[in-house]
Symmetry: C2
Subunit: 210 residues, 2 copies
DNA sequence: ACCTGAACACCGTTCAAGT
DNA sequence: ACCTGAACACCGTTCAAGT
């Protein structure tokens, strides 16, 4: 079963292997050495494909963005607000599948091809409704910030839950100093992400949709 | 000048030392061993103060939040929108002082005392204007997401600039596939952060301010 | 209680050398 | 061009032992 002389391996194979380790053992466990071992390579060989660990991490971020259906987001036969809702929800869902990958976004510039095209799609959508470019730029920046921030808070909370699961549960809890926060939590609000986005779009004067 | 038998060191001293290394050598260079060395301690002694590196990182996040003037943000004699603008700008400024600390926010739950009080202050502000708690909860979540996301994008961009400075400048650049993005960048828009926040608040029906 | 010393099981990255 | 082996300078964390 021993393979013949190894031909090669693609950058995509490496990114996939990295995500596998990510899912199995968490984000901190993704190492050049570990990924190399999984692929039957020497750590040194990895530097043939990526110049550094950071470069690999940025490729991972790109892969998350690359799953977005940007074609659908550009379809002018659907109201822009509707398309944007879908696009934002998709991005959120993709990061929810890779909890922990959010940290990678914060650790480097969002300047990959896919990430840039994502921004371009937003600008195109806003201007297509007649919004001046300067305003569309602000709307795009705001939407990017809102979506990324919401995703980050999701991931941070998911990490908290994971930790709490194997932590000893306290026998008593401090009387809360945050009564409103506690009351608000009981209200649930699963649609908070969508609602916030819609309010933001309202603020930018985007017409409502049926 | 040799000190007498070492009495001890506070958790705050350790957090300060960690930030010093952060500023000097970047976020990746902050290590338990490095912080210990700076304080004249053995790495093992660090575990007397923090149970893990993660615990230290969360304390660093708390320290960034602890500089906020939450008292001013609760002053009812000023319009809530005005107070919120100031609070958001302050938080952004504090993270701009510690570029790279943003990653730490994403790497764990935002459940420190200061961070929770920050959220409580937002809820209080929104409800004080007569907004129902359920709506205030959504507005709070949206503002937290927007501010955190904007700060994250700031930090990521700052990291990009820092890298670009010592990278070889390319002799030629690919023709851009993103004409709108390029055109939008020329428009600048230094007030994008404030504008986006105001539009978000507009969307949530917060009354405008003089 | 607080600290040290030694050790375990890892890291990212570089460099000379092989084919 | 792509890969290996050996090495450098580090990591976080644990454990037994000292005072």
């Amino acid at each position: 079963m021993k393979p013949g002389p190894r031909r090669s391996i693609s950058q995509a194979d490496i990114v996939d292997a990295a995500f596998e380790i990510f899912e199995e053992k968490g984000g901190d466990a993704v190492s050049i050495r570990g990924v190399a071992a999984r692929l039957g390579l020497t750590p040194t060989a990895m530097y043939t494909y990526f110049t550094s660990k950071n470069a690999l991490q940025r490729a991972m971020v790109e892969q998350v963005f690359s799953g977005l259906d940007l074609a659908a987001a550009s379809d002018p036969s659907v109201a822009w607000r509707t398309r944007l809702r879908t696009l934002a929800a998709d991005l959120r869902a993709r990061f929810a599948e890779h909890p922990g990958a959010v940290v990678l976004v914060a650790s480097g510039p969002l300047d990959g091809r896919q990430a840039l095209t994502f921004g371009e799609t937003l600008l195109e959508g806003f201007t297509s409704g007649g919004m001046p470019l300067a305003d569309a730029a602000r709307a795009t920046a705001a939407v990017r910030a809102y979506v990324l921030g919401a995703i980050t808070l999701d991931a941070a909370a998911a990490g908290a839950d994971a930790e709490a699961a194997d932590a000893p549960s306290p026998l008593w809890t401090e009387a809360t100093q945050h009564p409103l926060t506690e009351a608000a939590e009981l209200l649930g609000g699963d649609d908070a992400f969508a609602t916030g986005l819609d309010r933001l779009l309202d603020g930018f004067g985007l017409p409502p949709v049926a």
